[in-house]
């Protein structure tokens, strides 16, 4: 039987990869996919703890994370499309009008 530590370690590795991607990559689309990676790592941790405590609540929360992720992707991609239409770029370094 695979112990909980294995799942949690996998979750931590995926979350770290996603966080590194958000901070290092400059293509807004890839930054966005890295956010999805982090959300998935958190989902894995939720499912693991649901199994560990035999509580269905963890799996219900994964459902809500899925809903919010789907809406976030729709709105975020629409925003990226709008930025691309007006500025012809998806490089986040080029979108720095608010930089102090």
């Amino acid at each position: 039987m695979v112990p909980a530590t294995a799942y949690l370690a996998l979750s931590a590795v995926l979350f770290t990869l996603g966080a590194a991607g958000v901070l290092v990559r400059r293509n807004a689309l890839i930054v966005f996919m890295s956010v999805e990676l982090m959300l998935n790592a958190v989902n894995l941790a939720f499912v693991t703890f649901a199994r560990q405590h035999l509580s269905i609540d963890g799996q219900v929360i994964v459902f809500f994370v899925l809903v919010v992720a789907a809406v976030e992707v729709v709105v975020g991609l629409a925003l990226i499309g709008e930025i691309f239409r007006s500025r012809e770029t998806v490089d986040i370094d080029d979108v720095d009008l608010l930089r102090g």
Binding site: L29, M33, N40, R51, V60, V71, V74, V75
Partner: protein, 169 residues
């Protein structure tokens, strides 16, 4: 037996995660993300979460990644990542910071791990999750519908063409 399923899935997930972050083309990132999502669906099955595994495949792999692929195709993106990096030695610093962060995360999360009790019959089925959703989580469930409606309205509003003749907005 479970290891024989978990280990390939975990290896695929980590490889896909590296692919998402490291790929030069957004399309390759999207395909790598698809691999991660499929591998995680397999681990959900091992974790007695069959309904979540199905949701993962339908919503994430079926809808979200397809949306990403559509936007990538529509935008015909010039990646722009061949420009010089503004921060010196960014990759090395990122690797070190990621290592420190991963260590902290592992220390925090592995302390909470306990042995799995045997799962009862029917744990994680659509019936069990649905009963919890419509009984204990009814209000959040309805609010999720409102959030989705907001998302639809926002996507339509953001995605429409600017009215003709008005020039710039």
């Amino acid at each position: 037996m479970e290891w024989a399923v978990f280990l390939p899935a975990a290896a695929l997930a980590v490889a896909g995660g590296v692919g998402v972050v490291a790929a030069r083309q957004p399309v390759h990132s999207a395909i790598a993300l698809l691999i991660v999502l499929a591998a995680l669906a397999v681990t959900y099955l091992v974790l007695a979460a069959q309904f979540v595994a199905v949701l993962q495949v339908i919503i994430y792999a079926g809808a979200i990644v397809v949306l990403f692929l559509f936007v990538i195709m529509l935008l015909n993106v010039r990646s722009g990542e061949d420009l010089p990096v503004k921060l010196p030695r960014q990759a090395a610093v990122a690797a070190v910071a990621a290592g420190v962060y991963l260590t902290a995360l592992l220390v925090a999360v592995l302390g909470a791990a306990r042995p799995f009790p045997p799962a009862p019959d029917g744990f994680g089925t659509a019936q069990a999750v649905g009963a919890a959703l419509l009984a204990d989580y009814l209000l959040p469930f309805e609010l999720a519908a409102v959030i989705m409606l907001v998302g639809i309205v926002a996507a339509v509003l953001l995605g429409r063409r600017p009215p003709a003749g008005r020039g710039d907005r």
